[in-house]
């Protein structure tokens, strides 16, 4: 919308120069730095939580490790679009067995889902030490790299839709956390990450986009309401298998609609 406005203004006045086009980006500075803080908090939390998970694995405590698996992942899932800027780390931290030709038996299969496979399928921490150490080294590396990163605005703003694409492509089918069935945790974290970005930039577009804002707000709320039905008393989520077909359909429609709408956020903010 801002871009459209600028373009028409530029065409109408003919003398508008680069300085005009640069102005709106100043508005982005505030939300961008707030988002950077959000990401830094999450990656720091990820390191802390991973340390606890690694400790449980090394202590051979399968049940404790299982209980820490899903909550540890959420910090990663919230900031996935940024984390994925480092594709080498994303692969070793979060790849799934079906990303590999030999699936679970593939030597390159590491990270969260390899640990998940060990804890739930092999019901043991045996042999997981190596993967645990590697995971901790990877998330620590990630935390360091992100702190040194200048956030590209189009990646941050685009991340709101990217997180919905994540849900649509891998979470809605229940294949992300296939051994632990903790997909709803990831689901929730992806939504939180997306909503965070949207909320930070909403003030910049609210004025000319009342219908859009009302629709997106409504869809985030609808998702929250569906997910709330599956909360456990301790703040976690029940198994993905308990998600009913009609709720899955509802979530699917909301995710796809949010993905469609949030895909216009970059354009609305004048980011090509």
């Amino acid at each position: 919308m801002i871009a459209t406005f600028l373009r028409s203004t530029a065409l109408g006045l003919t003398f508008a120069g680069a300085a005009w086009a640069a102005d709106p980006s100043l508005d982005l500075v505030g939300p961008l730095s707030d988002y950077k803080i959000f990401v830094a908090e999450n990656t720091a939390q990820l390191v802390t939580d991973t340390e606890a998970l690694v400790a449980a694995i090394k202590a051979g405590d399968v049940e404790k490790a299982k209980s820490l698996f899903a909550p540890t992942r959420t910090s990663y899932e919230r900031v996935e679009p940024i984390a994925e800027l480092f594709s080498d780390l994303d692969v070793s931290i979060d790849a799934r067995a079906d990303d590999y030709e030999k699936a679970e038996k593939d030597e390159a299969f590491t990270g969260f889902h390899r640990i998940e496979y060990g804890l739930w399928e092999e019901k043991s921490t045996e042999g997981l030490d190596l993967y645990a150490d590697k995971l901790l080294a990877d998330v620590t590396d990630l935390d360091g790299r992100i702190n040194a990163l200048t956030f590209p605005p189009e990646v941050v703003v685009g991340g709101a839709a990217v997180l919905m694409e994540e849900v649509a492509a891998t979470k809605i089918s229940g294949e992300e956390d296939r051994y632990s069935r903790t997909d709803l945790w990831d689901f929730k974290a992806n939504f939180e990450g997306s909503e965070k970005i949207y909320t930070l930039f909403r003030p910049l577009i609210e004025a000319g986009n009342a219908d859009f804002v009302a629709k997106v707000d409504g869809n985030f709320k609808a998702v929250d309401e569906v997910l709330a039905k599956y909360r456990t008393p301790d703040g976690g989520f029940v198994s993905y298998d308990e998600l009913t077909d009609s709720d899955r359909t509802m979530l699917s429609a909301k995710v796809n609609t949010l993905a469609e709408d949030l895909a216009t956020l970059r354009g609305k903010l004048g980011l090509g």
Binding site: A253, A263, G272
Partner: protein, 421 residues
């Protein structure tokens, strides 16, 4: 006549075409990357969208088709109305064609672009139908379900895959080229994301045949190599279509007059095994000759000659369990079991066992689901053809009445009725 031309004939023909090319030397030689030339007439073909019935049912079947089934997210009459209005707008636009709107390039484009800046109609029809599940768990639609609409049953030979069955809503896309259908499907998936969640979809096509001197073509062949549709009722006979295809009468809700029950069946064909079956057995199973489609009691006739089963009461020529004899016994009683078939062939890669995943995307329309498909399929249960076919999916749907004009929309009468109750 020899079945194949001699080598000499082939060489001569090739020489002739090389000569023909040489005489058109002024035309640039096509490049590898050039698009294959389209037929301008076929691209411009437009099926009227407005009418008392939806298009895509009694209108001629083009070469390509898709059936997509969706789950519907609509928690109120208002939602349903918004969805049906949106679907109508998209279908009207897509089937009639036109330029794609230009948007600010920093936004996602309005259109996938598959068909370029001007969408050519390409003979596209979009036919929308509702499944029984749409009416369930929606108290505001209570009492409005069409009289014989029901969830597709599992027949004895079926091996239904849940991911390929049922749906709240089906959309049948038919067009001259598959890209036109895929473009329309993608448009609807994108624009109706709020209401429609894709459940399954199957693409199919029928092989085109060179018309005879009078412009007529025979029935298309299925993947078993037989002509399919020979005994279809005449789709140009409006009175017959009123009786066989379109719903009418006090047993149907008022809103559901002028619609049609749509049956979709995804019927896998065991083609390797079929190709190893003796020809005589194949013909016995169908009750028709393979090459011409003529009934076995008149092997020199054409596919359109009706078999005379009364002259063969013991089933010596056409076995009692031959497919065409079971499906349509040609007696007075079975007249009420007629339906209009409009299938496509599908090919979906390879099965786990290394066999080809090919079959029939069976689609038929009838005025009464139970008297039509259900009765016929019950007669077919146990037929010898079952050795070679396996229904794996599909669903029963009710194709909505047509959209009368620009102010009307698909299912308006249903929405109005729901508001009254």
């Amino acid at each position: 006549m020899r079945p194949y031309p001699s080598r000499r004939e082939v060489l001569l023909a090739l020489g002739a075409s090389t000569l023909a090319l040489a005489t058109h030397a002024q035309e640039p030689a096509p490049q590898v990357s050039d698009a294959p030339p389209a037929n301008a007439g076929a691209a411009a073909q437009r099926v009227p969208f407005h009418g008392i019935h939806q298009a895509g049912i009694t209108t001629p079947r083009p070469e390509n088709g898709i059936v997509a089934a969706f789950d519907v997210v609509a928690t109120s009459v208002d939602d349903l109305e918004r969805m049906l209005r949106l679907l109508t707008d998209r279908a009207r636009l897509l089937t009639q064609g036109g330029p794609v709107p230009d948007l600010d390039p920093s936004l996602p484009p309005a259109d996938s672009g598959l068909l370029g800046p001007i969408v050519m109609p390409g003979n596209l029809t979009i036919t929308v139908a509702l499944g029984a599940s749409l009416f369930e768990n929606r108290p505001w639609l209570a009492g409005l379900k069409p009289a014989t609409l029901q969830r597709m049953a599992q027949f004895p030979n079926d091996a239904l895959e849940p991911g390929l069955c049922h749906g709240d809503l089906s959309i049948q896309f038919c067009a001259n080229v598959q890209d036109t259908n895929l473009h329309a499907l993608r448009d609807i998936v994108k624009t109706c994301a709020e209401f429609l969640v894709l459940r399954w979809m199957v693409e199919g096509n029928v092989p085109p045949v060179i018309p005879d001197a009078g412009g007529a073509t025979p029935s298309a062949r299925n993947f078993l190599g037989f002509r399919d549709g020979s005994a279809n009722p005449d789709s140009n006979d409006a009175a017959l279509m009123d009786r066989v295809v379109w719903t009418a009468g006090p047993h149907e809700p008022d809103w559901a007059q002028g619609g049609s029950y749509q049956v979709v069946r995804i019927i896998r064909n065991m083609v390797e095994r079929w190709d190893r079956a003796p020809l005589a057995e194949q013909e016995r199973i169908f009750g028709r000759t393979k090459m011409t489609g003529a009934p076995l009691d008149q092997p020199g006739a054409t596919e359109h000659h009706a078999p005379d089963f009364t002259a063969d009461p013991e089933g010596r020529v056409t076995s009692h369990d031959a497919h065409i004899r079971l499906a349509n016994p040609r007696d007075a009683r079975s007249q009420r079991n007629l339906m209009l078939r409009r299938p496509f062939n599908y090919s979906r890669g390879v099965l786990k066992n290394g066999q080809l995943d090919q079959g029939l995307l069976f689609i038929c329309y009838q005025a009464d689901l139970e008297a039509g498909f259900v009765a016929v399929q019950n007669r077919l249960n146990g037929e010898p053809l079952e050795e070679y076919v396996k229904p794996v999916g599909g669903g029963y749907f009710f194709a909505l009445p047509g959209v009368r004009d620009d102010a009307d929309y698909l299912g308006r009468a249903l929405v109005d009725a729901a508001r009254r109750t």
